[in-house]
Subunit: 361 residues, 2 copies
């Protein structure tokens, strides 16, 4: 007659002829167990095929051994953004090495607060990642109220006692704008993300700052929503202006790629008559026509670093913010000098797509 179910620590204790407590000590490598006994216990555990019950450990340690990630975006916007899967892959890389799991929640924005509350009340996670920070984000206060450890991705614009992964979109946008200025552009527009998102605002401000420093006008900005449809619509608005821009800095690749199509539809050659830059350096950026100059970010690395920081916070208490390397501008064929003031039609000379592209900081 075989025992049903997995062997427990009591089975191991019986097999090794010791008490439960001794087994627990031996398995956790704690002192107070004779070396010979320890070996006997480990041997018994091995032959029985014992594995620790995560559930029992979680209850007695009052820990979940899991961290949470709440994503509040409409599902149709989620698919097109490569950020999340890549970030999560990075997170996992760290977590799996430390025996932790990731609990993912994807909820409508209206359910977001409830989602955090439930996660905390149930004790399902020991901490969370705070992503897609918003301007004056109310979630920080919520998490402090819930006494939930957290790591924020980017430094919030409200006081926060949580460690932040210092991703800063400013240098990437600045590199793009400077690149365009160096090429000779003067009318540089921006298709921005929603202003209530911190990264939407940060990117717009970066664009403004560089233009202001160069004494160029900052009037040409259209706020959009990071979607292809939004990018297309914003591009139309810009191209319909009488003082049409000679370059557009988009807040992400998806909008930029949609913008490329709109330019083609208008019969405006890119990069001959219009330069375009994206942000994210998505896989597709190198494979559209023309290949898109973009800012390469590192969501995978961020995920790894953020997970590290969160686990350290949980295990060892507060520490400082985490720096990240600056993003790099990847120059491809969608940017070129602006057309000469005398409107000369240049033939739409195709450059072959170069997936790699050269780099500038």
């Amino acid at each position: 007659m075989t025992r049903p179910g997995r062997p427990t620590i009591s089975d191991v204790a019986r097999a090794a002829g010791v008490s439960k407590g001794a087994v627990s000590f031996a398995l956790n490598g704690r002192p107070g167990v004779a070396e010979e006994t320890r070996q006997r216990i480990l041997e018994a555990a091995r032959t029985l095929g014992w594995t620790p019950s995560h559930r029992a450990r979680a209850l007695s340690a009052s820990r979940a051994f899991a961290v949470g990630l709440v994503i509040a975006r409409p599902p149709e916007l989620l698919g097109a953004d490569p950020f999340f899967p890549t970030f999560i892959a990075g997170v996992e890389r760290t977590l799996s090495h430390r025996g932790q799991a990731l609990v993912l929640q994807m909820v409508p924005e209206a359910d977001e607060e409830a989602s955090y509350r439930r996660l905390a009340a149930n004790g399902r996670v020991d901490g969370v990642f705070l992503l897609d920070l918003r301007v004056q984000d109310t979630r920080l206060a919520l998490l402090e109220e819930l006494q939930m450890p957290a790591v924020t991705i980017a430094r919030p614009d409200v006081p926060s006692r949580y460690p932040a992964l210092l991703v800063d979109d400013e240098p990437g946008i600045a590199a793009a704008v400077n690149h365009l200025i160096e090429l000779g552009h003067r009318r540089i527009a921006h298709v921005a993300g929603p202003r209530h998102f911190l990264h939407g605002t940060v990117r717009r401000r970066a664009w403004e700052r560089v233009l202001t420093d160069a004494r160029l006008p900052i009037g040409m900005v259209v706020e959009s929503d990071f979607s292809a449809a939004g990018g297309a619509q914003a591009t139309r608005e810009l191209l319909d202006r009488v003082d049409r821009p000679t370059a557009v800095v988009y807040a992400n690749d998806l909008m930029a790629i949609a913008g490329l199509s709109v330019a083609l539809e208008y019969g405006i050659n890119v990069p001959g008559q219009l330069s375009v830059t994206g942000f994210d350096n998505t896989e597709l950026a190198g494979y559209v026509t023309p290949p898109l100059t973009s800012v390469r970010t590192d969501p995978f690395g961020w995920g790894r670093a953020a997970a590290h920081a969160l686990l350290d916070l949980i295990d060892r208490g507060p520490s400082g913010d985490i720096p990240t390397p600056p993003a790099q501008l990847v120059v491809r064929a969608s940017t070129a000098p602006p057309p000469k003031p005398a409107r000369r039609r240049r033939p739409p000379g195709q450059r072959p797509p170069t997936p790699t592209g050269s780099e500038k900081t």
Copy 2:
């Protein structure tokens, strides 16, 4: 002096003047508690702000109240594919209503088996979704060995006692190929996904079958990897042939969009000289030039249905496979009649992009 920590069921019992057991019964709506007592207990729980401890419940019920999803893909391939985020969003929609959580693991392919084993050994989940089925997938046997409930997305090509969500790519591909045949195409190529993936093989077979039924040749197929780079490379191979195809059916949108750029690079007009179809109907499909004819699938709905099926399997035992509505072909401007045999150069007449597109089954 306030008690530290959350109130437990014992606190509620004390406050209501009853035993732990009575509280448990009352809270779970089980019979054997007088109505008046039940109300008193619920009232006490409410005023104390009691919430059930997921950990304790999991231990005593020997259930995790969570399901797992293991994704084994190289991270760089993950970002571009909109399937996973959308599928997961659908899964969450169901799970959150049922108090379940999703444990997500993203691992290198080499660690995949270990990942399932760990999930099972730890008892972290009560079941898993099996995605990205492979030809002769070995994970089915693994999961049966681990006695882990599962739902497969698509019916495997090996015997399986698990319920399957019957997603079938065949009708979608068939619709695309038939659409091209009706337009008059005779040389219809296919850029396939990896043949070791079931969906890669299924889509290729569907393409073959329709062509064979129409007595058209099935020679023009290039196996690729679902990536933009792979799609571009495969397209080059096809366009370099002396008997260049007049239409290409791509196994996903990402490869198709990369293919559009290659055609442009070759000076081949789409759809004038070459028709192109994608698969997935990604957000970008409607915003490239020309807008891409594609097959619309419903990963969100699949996620919802799969989660339903998995929870039912866990709670109520085996049931049947789950049907899904057939995919729809979304016709946009990337498909048109083939060029006339007499090679007449047609001007690259732009059609404005129409994001919506008309539909055919």
